[in-house]
Symmetry: C2
Subunit: 364 residues, 2 copies
Amino acid sequence: MVGFAFAACFMMLLEEVLSLIELPDALAAQLASERLDSLTKPAGSLGHLEEIVRSYAAMRRDPEARMGRGAIAVFVADHGVTDEGVSAFARAVTAEMLRNIARGGAAISVLARRLGYLLRVVDVGVATDTSGEALPGVVYRRIGGGTRNFLRERAMTLAQAHLAVETGINVARELVDAGATLIGIGEMGIGNSTSAAALLSALTGISPAELVGRGTGLDDAGVRHKTEVVTCALALHQDSRSSAQALLAALGGFEIAAMAGVCICGAALHVPVVVDGFIATAAAGVASEFHPSVAKYLFFSHRSAEGGHALALEHMDARPILDLEMRLGEGTGAAIAMSVIESALALYRDMATFAQAGVSGKLR
Amino acid sequence: MVGFAFAACFMMLLEEVLSLIELPDALAAQLASERLDSLTKPAGSLGHLEEIVRSYAAMRRDPEARMGRGAIAVFVADHGVTDEGVSAFARAVTAEMLRNIARGGAAISVLARRLGYLLRVVDVGVATDTSGEALPGVVYRRIGGGTRNFLRERAMTLAQAHLAVETGINVARELVDAGATLIGIGEMGIGNSTSAAALLSALTGISPAELVGRGTGLDDAGVRHKTEVVTCALALHQDSRSSAQALLAALGGFEIAAMAGVCICGAALHVPVVVDGFIATAAAGVASEFHPSVAKYLFFSHRSAEGGHALALEHMDARPILDLEMRLGEGTGAAIAMSVIESALALYRDMATFAQAGVSGKLR
């Protein structure tokens, strides 16, 4: 750990972080189970909240399941595949929404404020460079001015994919340094549901027709066209499925790669990551290809109404916390789920035990 | 309204309150829809949260969907049917848990504190009278020292049922006077899942075998016995299905009747009521028998893991906000759902519109 602490002063490297990942602490989960059963409630009656507490305790290696800060990292980037007319909104909306998030008017801005979460907005490759605009709270870690059109060529180089993942790792590390013990991941990027559908199809084997959704609001013809684009792109990049990094480079986005980096870093640093919806799930899927234990440090926040998100979650054996038919992105589902996780942790820490409260236990 | 305001100085009467109930305001819902579509997000992408906003605006007759205080009313009472051995916990636990709630150690105490909700705990008929114990925050509106055993006789008199409903009405009125614009209902009462199963079966026609659950933790034999008790009680009180009040008197509980009163008063005063789980749903069902429009002022907080709650919700055409397999009661599911409702309202009020944020709209 000394070597690790030393290295952390510099940029954390992907390979180094991957080598730190271990399984969650089964003993902490066991101790949490025992405490849960001692609390003044029928055994198991908090349902999924109890599972959340056990998982959090195990991930944090902390039987007390203490909560520090909640943080949300929103990565923003553009996608070359928008050239194919796969989105109901113009590419310029990515930069417009970056400004909106920064100025507090976007959905995630409202939720982070209301729920008290640290919001970190990161431009990892928006087509329009807004770094001269002094947008409050935006961090610039631009890998480029958007990816290339993956229907024609790889979305990015292998080096860019690597750098984007490491960018996510470093953002996560900074949030952990700021006290975060729970990190939500979200995104904004016109065209990124096309990239996510392609990645999820490659990762799960589920067909594009089952995965592709309306994104920001395509009509039926738009969905058919988007499905064709994904199908053709998968055929074009068939050789890129050999590694997670190659897959990201071929079909990913800078923001998706960065979110994968957060998932990887969370696993390494024992900080649970709360996965937002369709696009964040693609990132989580890719992260799990980098290291299979990454999945054990994730909470899936909600079942999105976008495309085949429900199918993808099933394939990943993920049980989402919420099912509100949301499909907005930005980390909005993650934020609401984080509040539920915090409620579960508060119950665990603050409820009285049967002994403390003088409440009689079960009869038989 | 002058007469109403005058009457409100005194105890509000059931008949008077019922006469005030009108349909929610469709225009407010329409205006809310229009504003939702102007916000910087893909149309409809907040899913169920948008439906929540529209409903809240309509119930409140307020297109701005302003939120005042959130309040949770927890009614506590004992049940004579516990003589039949229908619960895994002893009847004495009701009073023990009343003390635990008052002292801050129960699940609902923790959640109300964490989420900032006004918690009103009302003893409407616990077997042990704790009114001399100076329990913080507990209000005593005792209808009796528990109901009678409804396997042998009616649980309460018609007059008691009436009084219990009016007690709930008055508690709701007090909370509204204190600024509440959203009221969660919860309960504690050993034996009350038996009463709720009987009521729900009578109201919906769903069989006891499908409705009866494990309550606080019965084993299979216990569930079989509890199902027999419910089946026999339904046969005994077959003649009591003529009116909501008679049904409550025959098979109800003081806390269930009081929760029904909150639902009725919420509808009359345009204050949405958030229904907790299995037992609160029985109260909501009874309240809707008093006046069919009551149902239009309810949010169903969660799908409980208790017995046939999912079936009952389906029968009532109710779409719960959460599905966390909780079955604790006390208003715990309501509290967490209220926080989701508040998030929905915050998004509605605080998000920027496309025009305000200078974000381009949909292409086509």
